[in-house]
């Protein structure tokens, strides 16, 4: 599912009056079936762009063209229905889901046997996995992931990133990931789009041809592709220095 954004403008009213321009005359084309990462600082318009594509915000001007198809999305917070079980949260989003497909969706994110749990019983890490499983369960043509690893500790972050990389490689669909973490972008995306400035502009685009399975061992080399971007490289204790 290709996405064609042209001349996009988006303003928000400021609390104290006036407007904040997030986008002005912003254009971007994304090829169908590819995985793109939107990389940029927090508050730089990544989430807004995802919300515009998902139809949760209306553009102030310009247009976003995407073919009709199913959209799956994982938000910054899991956004599960607390009064429905894990299995029902998936079924509500994907009404045609067979029991077999449901179990496969859960298993892909190592949630075997969790179908009967309620969201209140889950840790944030597990809840995020359920939210991702839900986004995949709808068999989307376009998958939107908004900071899918936000506020997870480093171990969980890596684990979930690996699971996500496997799932993305297993299915052909257009994926758009908003993140501020360079490693996430380098390990998951076919193409990294660097956003910057206010209103936001595309600063650079970087294509990564390396197969996803071999990227982990070549991460240091990959990072050299983007020396201009502050990396979240980890120190010897495994702690994140910058993000």
């Amino acid at each position: 599912m290709a996405i064609e954004i042209s001349g996009l403008a988006k303003n928000f009213a400021r609390a104290g009056g006036g407007v904040r321009e997030v986008f002005r005359d912003f254009s971007l084309t994304l090829g169908g079936g590819r995985v793109a990462a939107l990389l940029g600082p927090s508050g730089g318009g990544k989430s807004t762009l995802l919300r515009l594509i998902a139809g949760l915000e209306m553009p102030t001007g310009g247009s976003i063209a995407l073919p009709i198809g199913r959209i799956g999305m994982a938000f910054q917070e899991p956004r599960l229905l607390p009064w429905r079980s894990v299995a029902d949260n998936l079924r509500l989003a994907a009404p045609g889901l067979t029991d077999e497909a449901l179990n496969a969706s859960l298993a892909a994110f190592e949630l075997d046997g969790r179908g009967g749990d309620y969201p209140g019983q889950l840790s944030l890490g597990l809840a995020r996995r359920v939210a991702l499983a839900r986004a995949f369960a709808v068999e989307p043509d376009l998958l939107l992931l908004d900071e899918p690893f936000a506020s997870l500790d480093l171990g969980l972050h890596r684990r979930l990133r690996t699971l996500l990389a496997q799932r993305i490689s297993a299915k052909r669909m257009t994926v758009l990931i908003a993140t501020h973490d360079l490693d996430d972008a380098l390990l998951l995306a076919d193409e990294v789009i660097f956003l910057g400035g206010a209103p936001a502009q595309v600063k650079r685009r970087l294509t990564i041809d390396m197969p996803r399975e071999t990227r982990d061992e070549n991460l240091t080399k990959l990072r050299e592709l983007a020396p201009f971007y502050p990396s979240s490289r980890e120190d010897d204790d495994g702690n994140s220095i910058a993000s």
Partner: protein, 245 residues
């Protein structure tokens, strides 16, 4: 257990009080029970109690349905809310008696006027409670439902109603407590039957036995409804909050 002992002391105090004051001022429990049995045997008790309960139920339902609908509308539309809020403040502060008199004067002394008077007294209260509920709806879950193309029906059943359930339950519980007191006044002022009418009769005859014979079973029924229907309903309205940590 403590409740039963407490109830026993209440009966004892009543008995002692009755013996001290004399039957003119406070009839003994046994005398009230006898009057109750007599009214039951001739069918008056069931008839009047039944009618009053039916009025409670009808007025309560009417107020809950209409009040909830308007409350949700106000909670979701700030413009409508700004327009109608002053009316709501007036309605909330109008004495029940005024509403009842106006309903009977404008509508005549009939069943419809009685029901309108009962419902109108609870109505603004339900509006305010459900308006709070609608304002507290989580927009993040609505967005989730939008992205995953939930149908309208599912958006209400699975996303919004579970969030509103505690507000419905609170409005219902507060509503019953208000409505059953209002119903008696409405009956006393303009109906030829019901517990309120019987109380009016007892008042005119200064017959405290009759008054208490009707009042106590009615109070007991309302306490039972509150304890075994509304309070459990309120607890189960937010059962999912008790999951996990």
């Amino acid at each position: 257990m403590i409740r039963l002992i407490s109830l026993g002391f209440f009966l004892l105090a009543w008995q002692l009080g009755a013996m001290a004051l004399g039957p003119q001022h406070l009839p003994e429990p046994a005398q009230v029970a006898a009057t109750f049995a007599q009214e039951w045997r001739n069918g008056d008790m069931q008839f009047n109690l039944g009618l009053t309960l039916a009025r409670v139920l009808a007025g309560f339902s009417l107020a809950m349905v209409a009040g909830s609908a308007l409350g949700l509308a106000l909670g979701r539309s700030p413009a409508l809310d700004r327009m109608l809020d002053p009316w709501l403040v007036i309605a909330l502060n109008t004495p029940a008696l005024v509403v009842i008199i106006l309903a009977y004067v404008w509508g005549g002394l009939n069943e419809i006027s009685a029901l309108v008077a009962i419902a109108l007294n609870k109505f603004p209260n339900a509006v305010v409670t459900l308006r709070e509920g609608a304002r507290a709806l989580d927009p993040a879950l609505d967005e989730m439902a939008h992205v995953f193309s939930f149908s309208r029906w599912r958006r209400w059943r699975d996303v919004r109603l579970p969030q509103l359930a505690p507000y419905f339950a609170a409005a219902a519980r507060g509503g019953l407590a208000l409505v059953w007191k209002i119903v008696l006044v409405v009956e006393l002022m303009g109906r030829p039957n019901g517990v309120g009418f019987k109380m009016n009769m007892a008042f005119q005859l200064f017959d405290l036995r009759l008054l208490l014979a009707y009042a106590l079973p009615f109070v007991a029924l309302m306490v039972l409804a509150e304890t075994f229907v509304l309070r459990p309903a309120e607890r189960s309205a937010s059962w999912w909050r008790r999951h996990g940590d």
